[in-house]
């Protein structure tokens, strides 16, 4: 990714900005008003994509960690922790937007039901991963420990995803039995928002990888 030219990066940022702009237009002016919850349901169009990109970013971190342990190439370590950091930002967004939605519909900011509890656990695991990685200074060992932690920590992602299917919960279930509980117009807006957030994730990842590469260069030049 760090071989990407500035032009590629700028193009990705431009496409991402345009799709996010269109997504905002669709969410506020095109998506139909939900009959029971009213306008607060529009949070859903950013809550779900934020969670989706969070999962995607943590999956990328998981795969990159496996590749690092197999090949011991620093580019996989850079991809693993860069993607985990972005994943944590998106998971935070998902939790906070969900909390506003919960307050408006359930009357509480937070409740210890399965999806929210496993989200809190997931957030803590990856916040600890990033803290641990920054705290360790010994090169080689730091990357190995981080990779193992990332692989083990990823177990929390499918548990978080399946929580509303495995246990009784008040959290809405949008997709079940191969279909969705949305009207076609709502589903189209949701899919567009997911695409927009995924492009935005790729743009941020290209920026974060460049920073990770520069951090590594500074570290090498200091200790040579």
């Amino acid at each position: 990714m760090e071989r990407w030219t500035r032009t590629h990066q700028n193009l990705l940022w431009a496409v991402s900005a345009v799709t996010i702009g269109i997504a905002l237009f669709l969410v506020f002016l095109v998506a139909p008003r939900e009959a029971t919850m009213g306008d607060i349901q529009r949070v859903f169009y950013f809550h779900v994509p934020a969670a989706w990109v969070g999962y995607l970013a943590l999956f990328v971190s998981f795969v990159a960690s496996l590749l690092y342990l197999r090949r011991r190439e620093s580019r996989w370590d850079r991809l693993a922790f860069s993607s985990a950091e972005i994943g944590l930002v998106f998971i935070t967004q998902g939790i906070i937007t969900g909390s506003f939605w919960a307050k408006a519909t359930w009357g509480v900011w937070w409740t210890w039901e399965p999806r929210l509890t496993t989200s809190a656990v997931l957030w803590t695991i990856y916040a600890s991963y990033l803290t641990l990685r920054r705290a360790m200074e010994e090169q080689g060992r730091r990357e190995r420990v981080a990779a193992v932690y990332s692989i083990l920590g990823f177990v929390a992602v499918p548990i978080n995803f399946m929580a509303i299917r495995w246990w009784r919960t008040v959290h809405p279930l949008v997709f079940e039995g191969g279909g969705s509980n949305l009207t076609p117009a709502m589903l189209r807006v949701l899919i567009f928002c997911i695409v927009a957030f995924t492009l935005f994730y790729l743009a941020v990842l290209s920026l974060r990888l460049g920073i990770a590469w520069a951090e590594e260069q500074v570290e090498q030049l200091r200790y040579e």
Binding site: W101, L207, L221
Partner: protein
Amino acid sequence: MVYLFAAFLVLWSITFGYLFILGGRQRQLSQQLASLRSQRATPAETPRDRAMPGEG
């Protein structure tokens, strides 16, 4: 509507806050890299080099 706008405000505040931090870190690293590279390009000075003209 208050909760809807509050949720969007927080969402975009987190996004732009994170991008702002990344931008700052990128600038800081570019400066550090340029400084370290220029230090390596300049040969290390010996005490003799640093001596005032006429001292030795």
